[in-house]
Amino acid sequence: MKTEDFDKKLREKLLELNTEANEEEVNKVHDFVRSGKKKNWKKYGLFYLFGFLLIVSAGTIAISVSQWHTIKSLAATNTELVQQMKEIKTSGTNRKPRIAQYKGTPDTRIHDYQPAGNAADRPHSESGAQPATYQKKEIPSAAAHAVVQNDAPTPADENDIKTPAAKHKALLTGNASTQPEASIIPSPDDSGSGIASAPNPGHEGVVAGTLPAASGTSAISSLLSDHTAFPNAPAIALKASPNNTMPARAPSEIHPAAPVDSPPAHTELPGDSSIASDKSAPSLTLLDEDQNRGKSIMQGDSGRTRIAGGSAVLADTSLMVKDGRTKPVIRSFKYRVGLNGEVASMQLAAGVMGEVLFNEHWSVSAGFKYVVFDHETFADEDDYHKRKGKDFKHEHNGTSADTAQISNIHQSYRLFQVPLSFNYTFPLKKGFALLFSLGTDIDVYGQKDVDYNARIRNVSDATHQNSLSMIPVVAFNNIVTALAVEKQWSRFTVQLAPFLSPQLKKTDYKNANLYYGLRLRLLYTFR
């Protein structure tokens, strides 16, 4: 009781407190209330700006790390290439030449082209004045079969090679099924002898390729001549520059094959080992030679590069290797379009959307969305006035008589929105990905649909009435954040995303602090 008296006396005393407010104070409070909204915007703006910067920074770091790994692996590949080039250089004098061994078989698929005339009349150029006439010839030996190998030659290989005229050792590398990529590498002993065939009557034919300037046009002629001398051997005609003078290049350089004016050549090897070369087929071009070492690198123009030296390295078209440097090629943007559906608290939405993918991670999406809010029901106009602070009849002017009694009011809104968002995708395995998105829904156009019952006094039956009116919209009023799970099948993508949408500014049609829901998107990718 004692304490209650103390409290009571204090309370009474404090009620005597004089805190009259003057006009200046009223204005100050009013100014604050008016400008406080701006302050609120600043607060939210800074918060979301900071969040956006954080996401951008994190994404940039992730991309940088990813690119660093790519560059690292490319550098390793490059080092390997350089190492292989060095090996090629050093093995030019020490290493045994690599051999493509041809062993003829009586396979009917094996053909040999033999000029009808003598060696002097034999055409070696498509543009030559003398027409070529070839005859198909069966290889008579039963031992004919082709061996085209990449491995270093064995002593047995060497023994198999017969080079009767110039005793050339030659090498035909490359898998027979990848004919444009075949490399022809001569032995060191080939220097000065040009292309030589190995027209062994035992059906072992080998062609090799350093074409020194000194040999001039005689290289191909000698090949053909030699071939004539051994009619049973298969022939491989190589394209060469008209004067057979090959530009000296640094062995480390690898270039896409340059077109060369050369006579057509046609070569068939037994079985699957045929090498066909004509105008339409990728041409074989000697790009690199070291005359002293008798070593060359040949490259097909199919976009793939094969380097003689034991192992093959395939260079993708998106990667250019030159002078030991790697340059990743910039990819173009991708586009996705599709359907968008959303179910959220008291609202349903559907629409179309498009997305621009700048790279593997970052994208921007935009679209068009039709939203239906269905969330306000009032018992009667008094209830409406109590909760909305507005007079129903005044709001819906002319929709009902002043004397009508309004009841069972159901109010819904329809909105047309433009959803915009920045997305960061984190790829996972098996076509799955996580997608973080930050954006907003820009309200473009709004309608209010009101259903109610109106009953004129002294009339027993209430009439159902409907009012559809345009409402003013606030364009930017919310932020939408989503975390989506994405699954990709070929060009089709499905995204499922729970989303949160805090309301920055409350409007008549969106008067909750926070909306949340689930979003489903079906997308098709254009490249």
């Binding site: 409290d7 204090l10 309370r11 005597e16 406080g36 909305k388």
Partner: protein
């Protein structure tokens, strides 16, 4: 003449003023602020340690009032609604600024033989000044319980403390206030205590 001017409102009718405020009528807003600013200040002063803090509470509270005016239930008195907003705003300030303040002079306080009649001899401003010198936790619990009539359970929920803490804070706040009166008004204290002692003896 033919159209109703929406800027007009009945300055004597609170409902009309509130409706005009919802329509963003500046005059109505100023009118509403003018009507209740004094009341708001009196509440804010009790919960604040200084005038600046009281001003912040009032400003923030009125901002909330205008933000949520459309939600105001006209069936209830506006003053009650405003009071709730003011107290909530004051508690927000307390949570933000004072919740983790410590006060170490609790054990040194002494419960004195206090005569409640002294309060009637001290002005309201002076009493308010004494209340505002108390630690924020004491002041808030004391104001919520003794002035605004909340229960310990409600206070515990508002302030995020235990109910027992609320009770002990209230007890300490009372003792602290009595101690402050004894220190700042010794002559009154002696006079009233002596009177009380004499009365008791008689």
């Amino acid at each position: 003449m033919f159209f109703k001017n929406r800027d007009e409102f009945d300055k004597e009718d609170l409902g009309s003023i509130i409706n005009a405020c919802i329509q963003k009528n500046e005059k109505a807003e100023k009118k509403l602020i003018g009507m209740f600013l004094s009341y708001g200040k009196s509440i804010a002063l009790r919960y604040s340690g200084n005038n600046q803090e009281a001003e912040e509470i009032v400003y923030d509270a009125f901002f909330k009032v205008f933000q949520n005016l459309s939600r105001y239930d006209t069936a209830k008195p506006f003053k009650t609604w405003l009071r709730i907003i003011l107290i909530n705003t004051a508690l927000d300030h307390y949570r933000r600024k004072h919740k983790h303040e410590s006060h170490l002079d609790i054990d040194e306080m002494q419960v004195v033989d206090f005569n409640d009649d002294i309060i009637s001899k001290i002005s309201a401003d002076e009493i308010m000044a004494l209340i505002r010198t108390m630690p924020a936790s004491y002041r808030t619990v004391f104001t919520l319980y003794a002035i605004d009539g909340y229960t310990h359970k409600e206070i515990a929920a508002f302030m995020g403390i235990q109910e027992g803490t609320s009770k002990s804070n209230l007890r300490d706040a009372r003792n602290k206030l009595k101690e402050l009166i004894r220190i700042h008004y010794p002559h009154l204290y002696l006079a009233y205590t002596a009177n009380k002692l004499r009365t008791n003896e008689n």
